[in-house]
């Protein structure tokens, strides 16, 4: 049966997704989240050593490796989850919340706020945005700035951006699949390691130039 991408997700598809997320969370093998966070830290510290103290380069390289992994998962699951795809950017709030549930289970709301989409006509620069806050950053927690990782040496890169970067690539895959011409750029606007009260990442939907 040929799959047609709808303009907007209807009630039936959303209901299917709400039910499906329980199955996709409960069935697979899990890892303790602190252990996962510790793995990310362990690998980043090793990369920092390999890059002779260049923390920014270490963070960026590991983010790329992690995102490649996330993309491979998405690619493998695409046939099962494309029922969630639509052309509407507004639907991405719903899609992102389902994806976060599938990856982190019901506790995802402890680590991410409900993602908020801001249409292009309501932003200062005319670029549609997708904002997501991290009340607790699963990556930055327990890291002593300047001792464990030095934010000054991260340059423009952000350690806590890892999961949001994976999410941004997921949303990019959706956009590419449904035929929307956007390049998604992610920027970490707030970071606990840099002294903010919470983390925040913004995804910008830049229209592709023909």
């Amino acid at each position: 049966m040929k799959f047609t991408v709808p303009e907007k997700l209807n009630v039936f598809r959303k209901l299917l997704a709400r039910l499906g997320k329980f199955y996709y969370w409960r069935k697979p093998k899990k890892i303790n989240l602190w252990l996962l966070s510790s793995m990310a830290y362990g690998v980043t510290k090793k990369y920092e050593e390999i890059f002779k103290g260049a923390t920014g380069k270490a963070v960026d390289t590991f983010t790329q490796h992690f995102v490649n992994g996330a993309k491979a998962i998405m690619f493998q699951m695409q046939d099962r989850i494309k029922i969630l795809y639509s052309q509407s950017l507004e639907d991405l709030e719903f899609v992102a919340s389902i994806a976060l549930y599938v990856i982190l289970g019901p506790n995802w709301k402890k680590f991410f706020s409900q993602p908020v989409f801001i249409p292009a006509d309501r932003t200062d620069n005319g670029i549609a945005q997708f904002r997501i806050k991290f009340p607790i950053c699963a990556l930055c927690a327990g890291i002593k700035p300047g001792i464990d990782l030095d934010p000054q040496k991260m340059e423009e890169y952000s350690y806590g951006e890892l999961l949001a970067a994976a999410l941004a690539h997921l949303l990019q895959m959706v956009q590419d699949y449904v035929g929307n011409d956007y390049n998604i750029e992610i920027k970490e606007t707030k970071c606990k390691l840099r002294g903010d009260s919470h983390g925040e990442a913004v995804m910008f939907f830049h229209p592709k130039k023909n």
Partner: protein
């Protein structure tokens, strides 16, 4: 942020879980990067270093319930890798009745690829060698905190599914006084 607030956040994270698939899919790029930039021997050592660092961070919030290495391994699998199958252990040698060499066999390694064809083409490096370094750090922490009868512990991965073996295997060597 105070240390106490940090600890509250760590506790929340420790009491949560994520998909293990995330690790399995991210690791091949990490392995390829280490092998390409560091070579076989150094990559193996790097994986062990990573395992030590991970264990040190785990010990911020968690302490094993038992000093028995087999029970420690079973606790790690049960608590941190839910829905994976338990390890099997075989005592190979004893010292005065106490185990001094233990073979651990894991047919459901949390790190190694699950699907055939995703193994490393190089068998000299063990894909999940960071796990033996992780366990070694935990056992040495138990020794430092006087919770064991053994006085030294070393762990070495000798086979891994990710490197083309049938199961992941590690040897735990324990030393006793006297």
């Amino acid at each position: 942020m105070t240390d106490l607030e940090q600890l509250d956040d760590i506790r929340e994270i420790f009491n949560s879980e994520g998909l293990l698939l995330v690790v399995k899919y991210a690791l091949p790029d990490v392995m390829a990067f280490l092998l390409n930039t560091r070579g076989l021997e150094q990559a193996e050592q790097d994986l062990r270093d990573i395992g030590h660092t991970i264990a040190e961070r785990m010990l911020i919030i968690w302490q094993p319930e038992s000093g028995n290495p087999i029970k420690v391994l079973k606790e790690i699998k049960k608590k941190f890798f839910k829905k994976t199958k338990q390890i099997k252990a075989k005592i190979l040698e004893r010292f005065g009745g106490a185990p001094s060499k233990i073979l651990i066999r894991d047919k459901d390694c949390p790190v190694c690829p699950e699907e055939k064809g995703e193994e490393l083409k190089i068998s000299e490096i063990h894909y999940c060698t960071s796990i033996s370094a992780f366990v070694e750090t935990i056992l040495n922490w138990l020794i430092e905190h006087n919770r064991t009868t053994y006085t030294a512990a070393t762990c070495k991965t000798i086979a891994s599914v990710g490197s083309g073996h049938d199961a992941c295997e590690m040897i735990i060597d324990l030393k006793y006084r006297g």
